[in-house]
């Protein structure tokens, strides 16, 4: 088979739009009962799903940037799989957000056509990792926090959010174990790996405080058990973080001051320049060739 024929075989289907970038994917909630419970504010529920979806989407993109750069093939597979899980969570959450919003947007419009100020992700997920130690420290913080949130969301009074969370808990449990095991291996390794792991822990610490600051939407939705007030998972996160750092012979969180998020948090749309850089890469093709398929 010539190269051209192979390409034809790959793309010449009536469903070939799924190969496109940014268009043509089937609604991942197709056929799911997506009624919104009574007494739940649609705007708030949509905004909450956007925030959780944006966290997963941007973290997934940063992880994808490690593919071809990881120290070993096995770790490349691990990072790609974690990125894929998070992308799946992002798709479900952004689709839920768009449906609840009911303003004619879909997951693609939310992912590809918003500017940085429209994103609601925490700033932790935006940072480019200086090295592999920075990556695993950041992934540990992210997944320990997200796992605690998702675990509580399995009893959300929004049945779709509860279902998405129940799947996510199983996935993020693996992500957290992967990151934690690397932090221990590097922290409790050689003098060099220990020092570099400690530097990575110190570098991620200023970004931790923001994760536990509830925003207005979370505070409005939490009393009805639709959302989780993130301040309520702080002690669970701290216990996991302390357990890993102790096993890794690293200095605990208190050694470095947490940033107080001046001017607002990522949940308010206040972001670092790193998000603009990610979006330029993530949205470039979809924006320059709207609606195109290949």
């Amino acid at each position: 088979m010539s190269f051209d024929a192979a390409y034809e075989a790959l793309t010449d289907h009536d469903d070939d739009a799924r190969w496109a970038y940014g268009t043509g994917f089937a609604d991942p909630l197709a056929g799911v009962d997506t009624a919104v419970p009574q007494d739940v504010d649609r705007g708030d529920l949509s905004a909450y799903c956007v925030a959780l979806g944006d966290d997963a989407l941007i973290m997934s993109h940063r992880l994808q940037q490690w593919v071809t750069r990881a120290p070993e093939l096995e770790d490349e597979l691990a990072l790609a799989n974690i990125a894929l899980d998070l992308l799946g969570q992002a798709r479900l959450l952004l689709t839920r957000a768009a449906e609840v919003e009911d303003a004619g947007r879909d997951e693609d419009a939310l992912a590809y056509l918003r500017d940085a100020t429209g994103f609601r992700n925490v700033r932790l997920v935006e940072r480019a990792d200086a090295d592999f130690a920075h990556l695993v420290a950041r992934l540990l913080v992210f997944s320990a926090w997200r796992l605690a949130l998702l675990d509580r969301l399995t009893t959300s009074t929004d049945p779709v959010l509860a279902a998405i969370a129940a799947k996510g808990v199983k996935e993020v449990t693996y992500h957290r174990d992967y990151a934690a095991q690397w932090v221990v291996r590097l922290g409790d390794g050689t003098d060099l790996s220990h020092d570099r792991m400690q530097a990575a822990v110190d570098a991620v610490t200023p970004l931790v405080g923001e994760l536990f600051v509830p925003d207005r939407v979370e505070l409005r939705l939490a009393p009805a058990a639709v959302a989780v007030d993130p301040s309520t998972v702080r002690s669970e996160f701290d216990a996991v973080w302390a357990q890993v750092l102790q096993a890794a012979t690293l200095q605990p969180l208190a050694a470095v001051a947490e940033e107080s998020a001046p001017g607002g948090t990522g949940r308010d749309g206040v972001h670092t320049p790193a998000l603009t850089e990610i979006l330029a890469e993530l949205q470039g093709v979809a924006r320059s060739l709207p609606g195109s398929v290949w």
Partner: protein, 146 residues
């Protein structure tokens, strides 16, 4: 052939005359096979003579490897893929953290040696981990219990 029913992905079939509604559930949130599974199901059911075919997705209850049938496990093993053991049962309280690579007793699907080692918790797909057998020296994949 390993089927969707063997894997526990097929959750229901509702037939009424020339109309059929098939309900499936994803294994992992980001499973890239879902679209292909939907397309193939639709195509196969149309070929089988159904005029109206609908494929629905359910997210809840979340898929668990416990739904893989006994026949499915035998087929996985015959294909050199170690089938999952019982899915973990959560006690109440926070999700437990695992700080050391798992030391589950996973038998080599090639030679049957019961004492193998895990190489990586993630393999070619999210649902499988990578292992090696110190006796026959073969690497193999194991379907992770979730």
């Amino acid at each position: 052939m390993l089927t969707l029913a063997d894997l526990g992905i097929l959750r229901g079939v509702d037939e009424s005359g020339d109309r059929v509604v098939v309900t499936i559930t994803p294994t992992y949130s980001g499973c890239p096979a879902m679209q292909t599974i939907q397309d193939d199901l639709t195509e196969a059911l149309r070929r089988a003579g159904y005029a109206q075919v609908e494929v629905r997705t359910v997210l809840t209850p979340a898929w668990t490897t416990d739904w893989i049938t006994a026949a499915g496990r035998l087929k996985l093993a015959a294909a050199g893929i170690s089938p999952p053991g019982a899915a973990p049962r959560r006690a109440s309280g926070p999700v437990p953290l695992t700080l050391v690579p798992s030391r589950r007793a996973i038998a080599c699907p090639q030679c049957g040696n019961p004492d193998t080692e895990e190489i990586a918790a993630f393999s070619a797909t999210a649902c499988r981990s990578l292992h090696r057998c110190p006796v026959c020296r073969e690497p193999f994949e194991h379907v992770k219990e979730i």
